[in-house]
């Protein structure tokens, strides 16, 4: 599903509480969220439970989505990630990290579309191995030790390669 289509669907949910639009969004994003949680070693039951919570948030907070500045995929990813953080933080106090993120989202002046060229430059500059390291370390949140074991390279090499990859990225985001 391209971004334009997803944005149209979310707008229909926000405006008319359109359940057909929501079912299309569900079919597109729920399996990805489920896969994301399963990749983080959550049980299938828990993965589905959290996925349900994310989709409920999308349904309830569709009005909060600002299509002028955010891509649907990035918005839904941040909601899914924050649910996971909330889940791992057992002792919740007055505010959940998701609320904090909502707040940052509302006040955030940066724009997904304006930074697209920077993201493309970074994506072009990183080779496959570097992309893989970023994915394993930051997206899948694997420890350096586990990455070293999976890629069968020394721990020190993992650390220095991640450092070099981040330095390469940082040239574009100063």
């Amino acid at each position: 599903m391209d971004n334009k289509k997803a944005v149209d669907l979310v707008k229909r949910i926000a405006k008319d509480r359109d359940e057909t639009a929501f079912s299309e969004i569900f079919d597109y994003i729920a399996p990805k969220i489920n896969a994301y949680y399963l990749k983080h070693n959550l049980s299938s039951e828990l993965a589905e439970e959290l996925t349900q919570e994310v989709l409920s948030t999308i349904w309830i907070k569709a009005e909060l989505f600002n299509s002028e500045k955010s891509k649907f995929i990035t918005w839904s990813f941040t909601i899914a990630r924050n649910k996971k953080i909330d889940f791992y933080r057992k002792n919740q106090k007055n505010v959940s990290s998701e609320d904090v993120r909502d707040f940052l989202y509302e006040n955030d002046k940066s724009n997904d579309y304006e930074i697209e060229s920077t993201i493309n430059k970074i994506t072009e500059e990183l080779d496959q191995n570097q992309k893989k390291l970023i994915k394993m370390s930051f997206f899948e949140q694997k420890s350096h030790k586990i990455i070293a074991a999976e890629l069968e390279i020394p721990l020190g090499t993992v650390k220095s390669r991640i450092r070099a990859t981040l330095s390469k990225m940082q040239k574009h985001i100063l």
């Binding site: 509480r17 359940e19 929501f22 079912s23 569900f26 729920a30 399996p31 990805k32 896969a35 994301y36 399963l38 589905e48 439970e49 349900q52 989709l55 409920s56 349904w59 309830i60 907070k61 009005e63 909060l64 995929i73 990035t74 990813f77 941040t78 899914a80 990630r81 924050n82 996971k84 953080i85 933080r89 106090k93 007055n94 505010v95 990290s97 609320d99 904090v100 909502d102 707040f103 940052l104 509302e106 006040n107 955030d108 002046k109 940066s110 724009n111 997904d112 930074i115 993201i119 970074i122 994506t123 994915k135 370390s137 930051f138 997206f139 949140q141 981040l166 330095s167 940082q170 985001i173």
Partner: protein, 209 residues
Amino acid sequence: MNTTTQKNDLIFSYSSGNLGEAKSLFTSMYLYLNSVASKKASIFDNLLAKNFEDLEGIKLKKIKFSDCIKSKKPSNENVKSKNNPLENIIGDLKNINWKSVYKGFKEFSIPVNDKDSVKLIKMDPGTAVPLHSHNGKEYILVLDGSFCDEYGEYNKGDMQINDQKIKHNPVACNKDGCICLSITENDVVFFGKFGSLLNLFTFIKSFFK
């Protein structure tokens, strides 16, 4: 590792959800106050979201879309938070019950479930912290006013990261003083005339943490 790299590391870790509660709260305030930092976080969020987009979906076995529709008419109440991320937790900064540490220097510990401690520091105009270093890293974010040390002037939204290599002597600026959010991973080590006394005080204090 230079300071920019360390700041970026903090932002990247925030984006990936790797931070504990203390640093997470600290970073969310940094992103709230600093638009450059916020832009960097968006770049990293988008990069991670690309990985998410490429994920091969796994169909749900039990949950259907209709299970996720909790209410047909969601209320708009509570959708918008009124305060910033920190004030959402501790309330208005103006009503903090500050604890005086010494003349012109007050602090307030923020309750977090984390090994790192996070606190607010309030320094009256011209108040100085004796020359010190840190056993672990110290992160300081200026929430209001400004302070100066050997490395420069830090204003609202600026962050300073210090480690054991750095000795500094911060002074709140003369005009407004400053309020900072601070994380210390380990104890502070003081130098100079009263250094040993302050270090002894820190040592004793550690028993009451």
